[in-house]
Amino acid sequence: MAGVAGAPRSALRLIRAFGGLCQFGEDDHENVRCCATLRDSRISLMRLSAVGLACRRGGREVFAGIGFSVGAGEALIVSGRNGAGKSSLLRTVAGLLRAAEGRLTLDGGDPELSIAEQAHYLGHQDALKPSLSVAENLLFWAGFFGARPAAVDAPLGAVGLGALAGLPAAYLSAGQRRRLSLARLIAVPRPIWLLDEPMSTLDSAAQERLTGLMQAHLGSGGLILAATHGPIGLGTTQELRLDQSAGPTPSPEAYEGPS
């Protein structure tokens, strides 16, 4: 699997592989492994597909038998009632939840990286540190995901936070925090965007701006999975409704505390 080029890179891979061994044989990437394809395949050939995906949380089946196929430049809107498993589906694709059954495959893309490593996940939490400034927060995530360190001004401008770069994140409103979180997606190019309720807390101007950013991402050959209740403003999209296959509505006794 390790290539000839990039000796430090493969050394790190080795360390990771050893880390996997320490989990007593449970390979958590088993279900979320990309299909090895041609190394020089272009991003436009990417296709993310799922077959028979199932997720269980706390002994309860959240969803089962989910299948989809999203190609480069396409968006998949995941809809369904509260508790239908929209967030769980996105977290499964992001490698943050283990799929109980089924397979996720990514054709194209980098065969050395897992799906999670080629994806951006925008969850309900904004992953910001209140004591760091707006620019420092973005600089950290850009650096962590391997972007060039100088590249934070343009993303901040793109989400309309350029003037607030020096302000501690503690003073941001909910919508501004959301926008700062979105700036991460622009600062670091990754082909797959997993967006959980991306429009929540955004005002109408910011929603339009986000729609523009998503269209630009699709235009450059990326793909988007978005869980949402409302319209998202994208033109041609596929829709995956989680209601039909879902089990009975959970009773109040089934509540197991916040995740």
């Binding site: 050893f18 992001a94 943050l96 283990r98 996940y121 950290f140 962590f144 391997g146």
Partner: protein
């Protein structure tokens, strides 16, 4: 490796900002050590004898303070999800977080220890030996603590659980740390013997800690 330096810089920035753990740890250390002479009375011989043990205990408790939030803060605000999705190996990210924790809580203790040793009537060679044992031993406290901090995230609300899990594991470090300090001050045992074992404990924890903590954090995916 820019991802790892980014983690180091961020964690150190957070620790030294308002509400961070760096100042809290060293202040706690000073307060605990200062209280001991008041509790025991002005018996200089007694203070001198138990001085290294008191300083070591205070250092142990102080380094435990900031550990509690090491991973749970990242878990609560969603940062941990993104860290798990990064391309940097989780073990190395955790080792960097440990390094940042030690630089902001362990290192200030070592700087403060000779100063506070005056309260316990320790003379200059004793203070130097004590600082040396703390320098060799506090990284072990941090890296053993990483395991407890990671397990506490998985089980949620692990504040006290962390102490219960971590403190028993630090007993060997405590024993050989205090033994080395005492050997330098008075004891018939040569300083080198317990000190080498202390260094070995630290080296072992540097390896085991990040791997065990990473395994615990990956269980979060359930």
């Amino acid at each position: 490796m820019t991802a790892l330096t980014a983690v180091l810089i961020r964690d150190m920035r957070i620790a030294v900002r308002v509400g961070g753990g760096a100042l809290m740890g060293v202040l706690f250390f000073l307060v605990v050590v200062t209280l001991v002479p008041f509790a025991l009375g002005p018996d200089l011989a007694l203070l001198k004898r138990i001085g290294p043990a008191v300083l070591w205990l205070a250092a142990l408790l102080a380094s435990l303070l900031a550990l509690d939030r090491l991973f749970s803060a990242d878990h609560d605000d969603g940062s941990l999800d993104l860290i798990l999705m990064g391309r940097a190996p989780l073990e190395l990210v955790i080792a960097m977080k440990g390094l940042a924790h030690w630089l902001t809580t362990g290192l200030p203790l070592i700087v403060a220890a000779p100063l506070i040793g005056l309260l316990l009537d320790l003379d200059a060679p004793a203070e130097a030996a004590l600082a040396l044992t703390l320098l060799a031993g506090t990284p072990a406290l941090t890296f053993i603590g990483l395991i407890g901090a990671a397990i506490a995230v998985t089980l949620r609300r692990g504040g006290l659980l962390l102490a219960v899990l971590v403190l028993p594991l630090t007993v060997p470090v405590l024993i050989f740390g205090v033994a080395a300090a005492n050997a330098a001050i008075a004891g018939p045992v040569p300083f080198g013997t317990p000190f080498t074992i202390l260094c070995a404990l630290t080296l072992a924890s540097l390896v085991v800690g990040p791997f065990a903590a990473a395994a615990a954090l990956r269980q979060e995916k359930e």
